[in-house]
């Protein structure tokens, strides 16, 4: 207000100032000024006229005084007018102009007086001048013209007139003289004279006066004064004008300022108005928004409601009218104490904002909660004038929070009931929650632990008591990685420092960003459990021991049973091989077959028991699938041929050869299946077919094995039962066909253990097919050793003559796989005609492969026919027979047959025989008889003959072994026990030792150990093959572990023995080139070509092998070194053997050589150099591998 009234005062002042300025500025009345100037000018003019008139009057030109009067009147009037119109200048006053004007008036008055006098004197003078001549003439006439007086008078007259014209002092004197004269001499009574003289006097006097008056009048200062007045007036006026102009300017400026101010005010008003409008709009909007959300009420300073919005009425159920004018007390729910409101009032009365949650009561008595903010609006008197309350309905929130409290209690209850310790830690690992059980278990009260870092408080050590830093905490690390953790190998520490083992289950809780916000850990004190575990372990150990005992028993039993069995069977075989009469033969045959059968049963039972006790394990070793199958099938070939059955082995070309698995068990299964097939097939064929199927894992091959027969078949309903133990399809079968019935069940179990499933398809009367599919890791994925030399036979045409369809297919497949061009005929007649045709066409066959057992014309007959027509005969003829007869070889030689092979013939066998057969120069040259006959035997026989030491205590076995070995062409020396063995060995030069394990005095292992020990000093390593009846799992390993090189099980399997020996001879051959003398420089570090070929150029495989090598080779090397310190010969040998094996695949001859040396000389004390050599070559090898660029 003050400001406003000040403003008003200011404005009033400004306006008054403006008007005053205006007044000042218009003081200049131009008209007045002009009039004044004019009047002044007129005055000057009239004044000048006056002078003029006076002069004219004086000299008789102006004959009346009216003009003079007029001028006087005009001047007087104008002077009065000036004074009246312009009193500031011309009225009486002290100013310069006024003084000047007054001066003028004074002068003018003076002048007027002079004029008055002039008028009267002038008139008199004029009259006298006019009369004087007449008067003087009269006088002259009167006194006589001639009288002296007349002269004087004349003189006087002239003088006076002259004087009138121009007054001068002389003249005056002269006149005076004359006067005097005349007066003296004159008659006193002469009136005329007196009158005359009087006139002269008058003239003289008046003239002076008049002249003086005239002079004074005309020279009056009035003109000058008038000028002065005019000047001063002009100056004054100019000043006034100037001043007025200044005032005008000031006024203009002031007006302008006022204008500007007005404009500014106006603009500001506008803007304010606009702002106001905008603000109001904004306010309206905000208020509206507020009203939408909040409960708003405004109360006056006494708390009476003066405004409430819709929401308020809504929630309180009071209408607006019911609310206005009331106090908020009508909403009082009674929930809050008096103090609550008292404090609220105190706060807001002070002018402060109050926040709070208030429970209010609706009109109908129900309650609601609001979150309230009260803002006091301060008035001019520094006290609140109004209160605005803004509230939001939080009833729901309150209910929710109450519910949450209940929920929390609920969950807490749960955690309390758990029976497990539970704690929650935040992202930093600080405890935020604990249940009572945790308290109890940890010995920490809740309050003390909450906020503390859990790990560093309770999980400070490992189960072995070593400190466990938080970063290594396995629980947290696992949780961080996987979101949860379960482990039972951790240990918590109680408050008192004691620790206890815990099983923990932990889970992470994530926040919205996916970061762990907290972790829940539930834990149990598993001390009891651990104790239980320990006892369990202990029990397990006891059980294991028991099991082991059982196993040993089984093994022992197995051994005990086998040994005599071995004797029976072996001897029976030997007997059968010798000359027997028919009757003896018959008896011995029965003995043999019985023994065989018994052995089978025993094997089955043992296997079965193994399976039942879960002790059957499947080995994982490299082996040649082809070889195994060939051996297996071949071993059953006699039986098949006996029954005139074709036994066919069909391996698909893409089936890998070198695989990892258990050859023994697989062989067992094959034997079982094929045996069964043979047993239950009367006529036809049995085909063992292996093919590769899709779906193998990387590095594996999925192989499907099927044994197909054309036997009696199995009815479908019996499918299940045959797999069950001790059952056959038909109990009658047992009687007819024999067999324990365990075979299939065992086979099935074995297949299962290999990861496959034995399946059966069969048609009664048609035949059966048993098949299974197993996934096996492979070494090389290519076809079993594609012989390089297959180039030689590429494109060669070959005639196959075989009546058996399956065989035809097999042969065709094989021949085609070598790039040859087979033509198949089914009988001899067709063969002959085909040969004719071919030679006639100019494309004779280079090779013919003939089956022996053919109807109508058998193989030999066919050959005889060929001999008759040598022009058609192919260059080379080979014969395949199902049953090997004595004398067949001679017959072949006779007939010039280049090759004679027993069916089933393996690919490699056939190939080898073929190559050998083809290499021989054509029949046109040498004597056919001289052709060396390539048989399996000869193949075998081409191997070296060995000098063997046999250590065997059992006489039967001795004999048996001796006979077998001699048959093989080796020479045998017998030792009865280990000591004899050593003695013999020491004295003799043996290529290898066949060491029975169980011998009295000194067992095989002991003897081997001693031999190896003694070998340490030398650089020799004699191959020792164990012979053992222990057929249990791990027997082989055990043998190897004891320093043996090979292992055959008893009863001695000729095949396996031969195999082992075969392997050995090759080895020995190499061995005899003493490793130490071999020029090491010629040994390759690594043959990548070979290695890659072996690995079928598989980069993955190569890398994997390298990885394994890099992992295991240093390990083994280290073991060798440490074993050297501990003198653990077996360990040295074992690791050296391992190194040798693993680098073999790289064809790393040097490393292999060094490893082998250590292996053979493991018993030697001085291995330092050898180890250094090995290390060096390993390093070289490693370097070579590292630097090898694959591409």
């Amino acid at each position: 207000m003050k400001q406003f009234s000040r403003k008003i005062a200011l404005w009033l002042t400004a306006l008054l100032l403006l008007s005053w300025l205006f007044k000042q500025s218009v003081q200049i009345d131009i008209d007045l000024h002009l009039r004044t100037v004019q009047n002044l000018e007129i005055i000057r003019q009239q004044d000048a006229l006056l002078n003029q008139y006076i002069l004219e009057s004086r000299y008789g030109q102006l004959k009346n005084y009216d003009p003079i009067v007029s001028s006087q009147q005009d001047i007087t009037y104008l002077l009065d007018t000036l004074a009246n119109e312009n009193p500031a200048y011309f009225a009486q006053g002290e100013t310069k102009i006024q003084q000047a004007f007054m001066q003028y008036r004074t002068l003018f008055n003076q002048k007027n007086e002079l004029i008055d006098r002039f008028k009267s004197h002038n008139a008199v003078l004029r009259n006298s001048i006019q009369y004087f001549p007449t008067a003087s003439q009269l006088q002259i006439d009167q006194i006589g013209p001639q009288s002296a007086h007349a002269l004087l008078i004349r003189d006087l007259r002239e003088s006076v007139l002259l004087y009138d014209y121009r007054a001068s002092g002389d003249l005056k004197n002269h006149i005076q003289q004359l006067l005097n004269t005349l007066q003296q001499s004159a008659n006193p009574s002469d009136a005329g004279l007196k009158s005359l003289l009087n006139h002269v006097d008058i003239i003289i006097q008046h003239k002076i006066e008049v002249d003086e008056l005239t002079r004074n009048i005309t020279q009056s200062q009035t003109t000058a004064q008038a000028d002065k007045v005019f000047q001063i007036y002009s100056t004054f006026f100019a000043q006034r004008e100037h001043r007025a102009a200044n005032y005008k300017l000031a006024m203009a400026i002031l007006s302008l300022l006022m204008m500007i101010y007005l404009a500014r005010t106006f603009t500001r008003l506008q803007m304010t108005g606009q702002t106001l409008t905008n603000s109001l709009k904004e306010l309206e909007f905000q208020k509206f928004a507020l009203d939408q959300h909040s409960i708003v009420s405004i109360a006056d300073r006494n708390g009476k409601i003066i405004y409430s919005n819709d929401k308020f009425t809504e929630i309180s159920q009071y209408s607006r009218d019911e609310l206005l004018g009331k106090d908020h007390r009508i909403l009082n729910s009674g929930y809050h104490p008096r103090d609550f409101f008292k404090q609220m009032w105190e706060t807001i009365e002070k002018g402060q904002v109050w926040h709070g949650e208030v429970k209010n009561k609706r009109k109908d008595g129900s309650y609601y909660w609001v979150d309230s903010t009260i803002v006091p609006l301060m008035g001019d008197d520094e006290k609140p004038s109004r209160y605005i309350s803004i509230r939001t309905d939080i009833s729901a929130l309150k209910a929710l929070s109450e519910h949450m409290i209940i929920q929390r209690a609920f969950y807490e209850n749960i955690t309390e009931t758990l029976g497990e310790g539970l704690y929650v830690q935040d992202a930093k690992g600080h405890c935020v929650y604990m249940n009572s059980e945790a308290e109890k278990l940890l010995g920490w009260p809740r309050q003390e632990l909450i906020g503390r870092p859990m790990h560093n408080t309770i999980h400070t050590q490992t189960s072995t008591g070593e400190p466990l830093p938080a970063c290594d905490c396995p629980i947290m690390n696992h949780v961080i990685k996987h979101g949860k953790a379960h482990m039972d190998d951790q240990v918590f520490v109680r408050k008192d420092g004691s620790s206890f083992p815990v099983a923990i289950s932990s889970r992470a809780i994530y926040d919205n960003n996916g970061n762990i916000s907290s972790t829940v850990v539930a834990f149990q004190d598993i001390s009891a459990r651990k104790a239980a575990e320990t006892s369990v372990i202990h029990a397990k150990e006891v059980a294991e021991r028991a099991n082991k005992v059982k196993g040993n028993f089984l093994a022992n039993m197995s051994h005990e049973i086998r040994t005599p069995m071995n004797g029976i069977i072996g001897m029976a075989e030997l007997a059968l091989d010798s000359d027997l009469n028919a009757e003896q033969r018959e008896y011995v045959s029965v003995i043999k077959s019985s023994a065989d059968a018994l052995l089978n049963i025993i094997n089955d039972i043992l296997d079965f028991s193994k399976i039942e006790s879960g002790r059957m394990d499947i080995e994982s070793i490299y082996f040649s699938l082809t070889q195994m199958l060939r051996d297996a099938v071949k071993s059953l070939a006699p039986r098949a041929h006996q029954k005139q059955l074709e036994l066919l082995l069909h391996i698909a070309p893409d089936v890998p050869d070198r695989i990892i698995g258990d050859p023994g068990r697989l062989r067992q299964v094959i034997l079982n299946l094929v045996g069964n097939a043979i047993k239950f097939t009367e006529s036809g064929e049995i085909e063992v077919y292996i093919k590769k199927v899709d779906g193998a894992l990387t590095g594996n091959a999925k192989l499907e094995f099927s044994v197909r027969d054309t036997g009696i078949g199995i009815p479908e309903e019996k499918f299940h039962t045959i797999f069950e133990s001790f059952s056959q399809a038909d109990t009658s079968i047992t009687r007819k066909y024999g067999g324990t019935g365990l075979g299939l069940s065992i086979s099935n179990k074995i297949i299962n253990l290999m990861g496959g499933q034995l399946n059966l398809t069969s048609t009664v009367g048609k035949g059966s097919t048993f098949h299974f599919t197993i996934d096996v890791p492979v070494i090389a994925e290519n076809i079993p050793t594609q012989p390089q030399s297959s180039m030689q036979v590429r494109g060669m045409s070959v005639l196959v003559v075989d009546d058996n369809l399956t065989n035809q297919n097999i042969l065709q497949e094989m021949l085609q796989s070598w790039g040859m061009l087979p033509t198949i005929v089914a009988n001899g007649a067709d063969a002959l005609s085909e040969l004719e045709r071919a030679s006639a066409a100019g494309k004779p066959y280079s090779l013919a492969i003939l089956d022996v057992q053919m109807p109508e014309m058998n193989g030999f007959e066919l050959v005889e026919h060929l001999r008759l027509k040598p022009e058609h005969a192919p260059a080379t003829v080979m014969m395949l027979t199902s049953a090997g007869q004595r004398g067949d070889a001679a017959k072949c030689r006779e007939l010039g047959v280049a090759g004679y092979l027993m069916k089933p013939v393996s690919q490699s066998d056939l190939f080898d025989a073929m190559m050998t057969a083809l290499d021989v120069p054509s029949h046109s040259g040498a004597q056919q008889n001289d052709l060396p006959l390539i048989t399996r035997h000869s193949l075998r026989e081409s191997r070296r003959k060995l000098n063997l030491l046999l250590a065997e205590d059992n006489a039967v076995n001795q004999t048996l072994a001796m006979r077998i070995l001699e048959k093989l062409g080796h020479s045998i020396t017998i030792a009865n026990n280990g000591i004899e063995a050593i003695q013999h060995w020491q004295n003799g030069q043996f290529d290898a030792i066949l060491m029975d394990v169980d011998m009295p005095v000194m067992g095989g292992f002991e003897a081997t150990r001693l031999i190896r020990e003694q070998e340490k000093s030398t650089s020799r390593h004699i191959p020792i093959i164990a012979m053992t009846a222990h057929a249990m799992q791990g027997a082989r390993e055990e043998c190897l572990h004891h320093g043996m090189d090979g292992y055959v099980s008893k009863p001695i399997d000729t095949e396996s023995l031969w195999r082992e020996l075969d392997g050995l001879t090759r080895h020995i051959n190499d061995d005899n080139n003493a490793p130490s003398t071999t020029a090491k420089d010629t040994l390759t570090i690594i043959d990548f070509g070979k290695a890659r070929q072996t690995m079928d150029n598989s980069r993955e495989l190569f890398d994997e092998i390298v990885r394994l090598f890099r992992r295991d080779a240093p390990d083994h090397l280290q073991r060798i070194k440490s074993a050297l310190d501990t003198n653990d010969v077996d360990a040295i040998r074992h690791s050296a053997h391992a190194i040798k094996g693993m680098v073999g695949i790289f064809a790393a001859e040097r490393t292999m050589h060094d490893a082998e040396f250590i292996e053979f000389n493991a018993g030697n004390t001085d291995l330092q150099t050898a180890i250094k050599d090995l290390e060096a070559s390993l390093t070289e090898l490693e370097s070579a591998i590292t630097h090898y660029q694959w591409d």
């Binding site: 007045l32 009346n64 009216d66 008199v124 006019q130 009087n198």
Partner: protein, 345 residues
């Protein structure tokens, strides 16, 4: 923001104040303009043209506000201007008598005798001052004399105005002519305006001056010549044949000594300025209609024109004029009688 907007009442007050200030400004603006009258000054009505001759004929008519003239006439003839309502201006300045009362001394209120010969009212506008001693510069001023003179009208403005105000006709007339109604200034103005209107043109002499050679006879012409040659025309000159200068009575002889009974009135202008040279100085009277205004001189000493002429010649000219010359001059003087309102006086 603590300041409040002004209340409604405050705003209204402010508005009024501003309005007033504005009004004041405007008023000041208006009032600062000086209103000057553009009327012709009164004296100018009777101002003769510039003429270098002895005299000139009277104008036929002069520019005057006729309403004022009528009012003035009424006032002139209104005896209420005198104390006892017996004497009006016309009592002494009788228009039917040539504008005077043919008495050496006039009779005022209560029959009191005046002190000096009433001069003629006719053509008094052409005199350069009023009264024998010229103490009234204007006819307006002259009104003051008789009004207040105890031996003449012996009244006061107060009385007069009071009397006049009662007269409805005066009130309306005055209100019509004057904004401020009946007041001395306006009364004087009205009477003076009437006085100025009393011109008597068309005398035979004027006609003669205007070119009518036969307007006056030869004797009168001769008289006019003698009037000039003797020097009468030295003083009795101008449009009114006098009235424009002061002269001593008794230039060539002591008139008053010879006459005797010197009164205060005889002192003439000496009564005004007490200057020795002003003793016996009087305004030279105008000679128009002189034939009608006997007795002559301030004291009414000359009963006839001829007497007046002789006295004048003796004391003013210092000569004795032969009779025939006197008669001629007298004849001439008689030709100066004009017409008032086209009626010969």
């Amino acid at each position: 923001m603590k300041s409040k907007l002004p209340s409604k009442s405050n705003l209204i007050l402010a508005g009024i104040a501003l309005l007033l200030a504005f009004a004041v400004t405007v008023l000041i603006f208006i009032s600062s303009k000086y209103q000057h009258s553009s009327e012709i000054p009164a004296y100018k009505a009777n101002q003769p043209e510039i003429n270098f001759n002895i005299t000139q004929p009277l104008p036929q008519k002069i520019q005057l506000n006729q309403d004022k003239v009528a009012l003035g006439q009424k006032l002139f003839h209104d005896a209420r201007l005198s104390k006892d309502n017996t004497i009006s201006c016309a009592s002494c300045h009788n228009l039917a008598n040539g504008g005077s009362d043919n008495r050496a001394r006039s009779i005022g209120v209560k029959g009191s005798v005046g002190t000096i010969n009433s001069p003629t009212i006719f053509n008094s506008g052409f005199n350069f001052a009023q009264f024998w001693d010229g103490r009234a510069a204007t006819l307006e001023d002259q009104v003051e004399g008789p009004i207040h003179h105890p031996k003449e009208m012996g009244s006061s403005w107060q009385q007069i105005i009071a009397k006049l105000k009662t007269d409805e006709s005066y009130a309306s007339a005055f209100n019509k002519l004057y904004e401020d109604g009946i007041n001395p200034s306006n009364i004087k103005d009205a009477i003076a305006t009437f006085d100025r209107s009393l011109i008597t043109p068309n005398s035979r002499f004027d006609k003669f001056l205007q070119g009518d050679k036969n307007a006056i006879n030869s004797m009168e012409k001769n008289g006019y010549a003698l009037f000039q040659s003797y020097g009468c025309a030295s003083c009795h000159q101008g449009i009114n044949l006098g009235g424009n200068m002061y002269e001593k009575m008794g230039l060539m002889g002591d008139y008053f000594a010879d006459r005797g009974n010197i009164t205060e009135a005889d002192r003439g202008r000496f009564n005004l300025n007490h200057a020795p040279e002003s003793m016996y100085e009087f305004k030279v009277p105008g000679l128009r209609n002189v034939e009608l205004t006997a007795p002559y001189f301030h004291d009414g000493n000359a009963k006839t024109l001829e007497q007046a002429i002789d006295i004048m010649a003796k004391y003013q000219l210092g000569r004795t004029i032969p009779q025939q010359d006197t008669e001629a001059i007298a004849a001439f003087l008689r030709t100066l009688t004009g017409e008032y309102q086209n009626k010969p006086l």
